[in-house]
């Protein structure tokens, strides 16, 4: 059984002027124990919204439908009350590197201790010792827990954020662009750390990013999102060698390759607005292989082989 499974998840946002934005339009996937999966797409495609839904952290103007199963139990059905029980204890999150995830006036250590004490895992001295352990785990000396966030470098803050996410020994780690705003060397170190920790602790991880090549280096599987839909889901290997959707192929081309085997091709145009219904395939205006059928209906999901599916009328191959 999947440790975390999402079934037909929808999220809407109420906008002023009685409009509604359908940010996530029925996505489904499963995450196995110890597995690393990428959730990939451009900004505005609904990937961050999807993981906020898994954390139960959607803003009050949001509404959600579908099922989020944690070890088979639907945790979305109970709303915020149920979500709160599992938040951080079972599903924890590493926030965007660019964010001020730490309160500037409190020490790093006290902020890592907070969830430990809230969950009742340890108190006082024991909690401090646990915090030191966690920091050592991510490569920061435990004595530095009395430092303030502004005294840490960006990379160290992100390490500390990972330590904080591990505080209550969660089963699933959600990482939202964990390496944005960090320089390349530090990025590599953070990714290496995430890979090592998930392997050592048997943690499942969903990594949200716009960088598909990066995902294919560290994740076994990936889901590509566009305009609120998962357009393609499969192992990163399959996605790279036999993409079912033009968007997947283009995403691989849109990021510079370290080995520079091919030219960087950016995808022209930008994702569509989601505050009104879209007829046909939302990717059609930007697609290089669109046919007439694409304008009429959302393409059906085809399964090329077990565990690899995509939603496109056209059969593409690299």
């Amino acid at each position: 059984m999947s440790v975390l499974a999402v079934e037909d998840l929808h999220v809407w946002f109420e906008l002023p002027d009685d409009k509604e934005l359908h940010a996530v339009q029925g996505i489904s996937f499963g995450l196995e124990r110890g597995e690393r999966m990428g959730l990939v797409g451009e900004s505005g495609c609904g990937k961050t919204t999807a993981i906020l839904a898994m954390m139960g952290l959607l803003p009050p103007n949001a509404s959600a439908a579908g099922r989020i199963l944690l070890d088979g139990e639907d945790i979305l059905a109970g709303g915020d009350a149920t979500m709160r029980l599992h938040r951080w204890n079972d599903i924890a999150m590493v926030f965007q590197g660019a964010m001020n995830a730490f309160d500037p006036v409190k020490t790093i250590g006290s902020q890592i201790q907070e969830p430990i004490e809230t969950a009742g895992l340890a108190k006082g001295k024991a909690a401090r010792a646990r915090t030191a352990e966690l920091l050592e785990l991510v490569g920061i000396s435990g004595e530095r827990q009395d430092r303030f966030p502004h005294e840490f470098s960006g990379g160290m803050r992100q390490r500390a954020a990972i330590a904080m996410a591990l505080a209550c020994q969660p089963k699933v780690l959600l990482a939202d662009e964990p390496t944005t705003a960090l320089d390349v060397m530090v990025q590599a170190q953070i990714l290496e750390l995430l890979v090592r920790l998930t392997d050592e602790l048997g943690l499942a991880m969903i990594m949200v990013t716009h960088d598909l090549p990066l995902v294919s280096q560290i994740c076994q599987r990936a889901a590509v999102m566009y305009a609120g839909h998962i357009t393609e889901l499969g192992t990163t290997n399959e996605l790279y060698h036999h993409p079912l959707h033009p968007y997947t192929r283009m995403l691989f081309g849109a990021t510079p390759d370290l080995l520079a085997e091919r030219d960087v091709v950016s995808i022209p145009g930008s994702p569509p607005r989601l505050d009104e219904p879209i007829a046909g395939c939302p990717f059609r205006p930007r697609c290089d292989s669109a046919i007439d059928a694409c304008a009429l209906a959302y393409p059906p999901t085809r399964t090329a082989e077990p565990g690899h599916s995509g939603s496109c009328f056209v059969e593409v191959s690299a």
């Binding site: 954390m55 952290l57 709160r84 938040r87 951080w88 204890n89 924890a92 999150m93 926030f95 964010m99 001020n100 995830a101 730490f102 309160d103 500037p104 006036v105 409190k106 902020q111 907070e114 969830p115 809230t118 969950a119 303030f148 502004h150 904080m164 505080a167």
Partner: protein, 324 residues
């Protein structure tokens, strides 16, 4: 150890320079008075010789730079001159009124801080609800009332029903009718209630609005989302993270508004005939008693500068980021 002592040093230096500027400004301002200062001595009918003597006595026959040096020396010694009216040293004239004003202002300010912070936090927390709207409109209302008018309203509509005195600082017949230290204290306090309430209400409007928006700003920060993700309850989030961060700008504001409070004290003490520094200023304006006015202005400015310095120190203590 934080390497922030240079910050404290720099703020102290700034305070000292400001004090010097204030002292000099005080000198310049009163030299700018139109006409000869002897004309202000209510001396229209005096002889020319008498005027010359007066000028000599006040050092007005010397050149401006010389006067400035003398003025600086005297001020440094705490000599602010003598009152035109009572002929007493200005510093003595001001001391008792200040002792009367401080507790009254303190009472009102503390009242408004407590009330303003509670309601402001509550409003931000329950943003968009009826209680939030109530706090915003109430805050706007009190913020818009002219201080002196609010004081008059309290006299008209509150003093009677509550049996509170509306004038002076103590009951002159108390010693005969109802002697005793305790009774004296109660009487003092009663005389303080309405003036303090006026200050409290006026400031309350300002504080509650600012606390609310500062709190809202803090609640929009990323670390609040982190705290929620960590499973903290709303109350814990407010207490542990939002409050401290939103109080940072408020601390500065409260100390900065001291100048405004002292200005308000002039109006309030005039209405309530409360013998504090404000009433002293009001009366010395009427009497053209420039030395007292000058002294009061200097003392109040010094008080604000010192309070600002304290605010800087407090900020240093509260915000670990302040090092530069």
């Amino acid at each position: 150890m934080r390497a922030g002592w240079s910050y404290v040093g720099r703020r102290a230096l700034f305070a000292l320079i400001t004090i010097f500027v204030a002292i000099s400004l005080n000198f310049v301002l009163f030299r700018l008075a139109p006409g000869d200062r002897t004309s202000a001595l209510r001396c229209q009918g005096c002889t020319e010789e008498f005027k010359q003597n007066l000028k000599k006595e006040y050092g007005l026959d010397k050149s401006i730079p010389e006067q400035y040096v003398i003025y600086l020396e005297q001020t440094a010694k705490g000599d602010l001159g003598r009152s035109f009216v009572t002929e007493q040293p200005v510093i003595d004239e001001l001391w008792q009124p200040i002792k009367n004003t401080v507790p009254m202002i303190l009472l009102g300010t503390i009242l408004s801080i407590m009330l303003g912070i509670t309601t402001g936090v509550l409003a931000a927390w329950r943003r968009g609800t009826l209680s939030d709207k109530g706090v915003v409109w109430g805050g706007l209302l009190f913020y818009s009332l002219p201080t002196q008018w609010l004081a008059l309203m309290l006299i008209l509509y509150l003093a009677g029903p509550l049996h509170l005195p509306t004038s002076d600082i103590a009951d002159p017949y108390l010693a005969y009718n109802n002697p005793g230290t305790w009774n004296e204290l109660v009487d003092r306090f009663k005389h303080m209630i309405l003036p303090a309430a006026t200050i409290g209400l006026v400031l309350f409007g300002e504080y509650t609005l600012i606390v609310r928006s500062s709190m809202l700003e803090a609640l929009g920060e990323d670390y609040i989302l982190t705290a929620r993700a960590k499973g903290l309850s709303n109350w814990e989030i407010v207490r542990k993270h939002a409050l401290r961060n939103s109080m940072l700008p408020i601390v500065t504001l409260i100390f900065l508004s001291l100048g405004f409070i002292l200005g308000g004290a002039i109006l309030i003490e005039t209405v309530f005939n409360y013998p504090g520094i404000g009433l002293q200023i009001y009366e010395s304006v009427g009497n053209r008693d420039y030395p007292v006015l000058q002294g009061a202005f200097l003392l109040l400015t010094l008080m604000v500068i010192i309070m600002n310095f304290i605010a800087d120190l407090l900020y240093f203590k509260l915000d670990p980021r302040v090092t530069e």
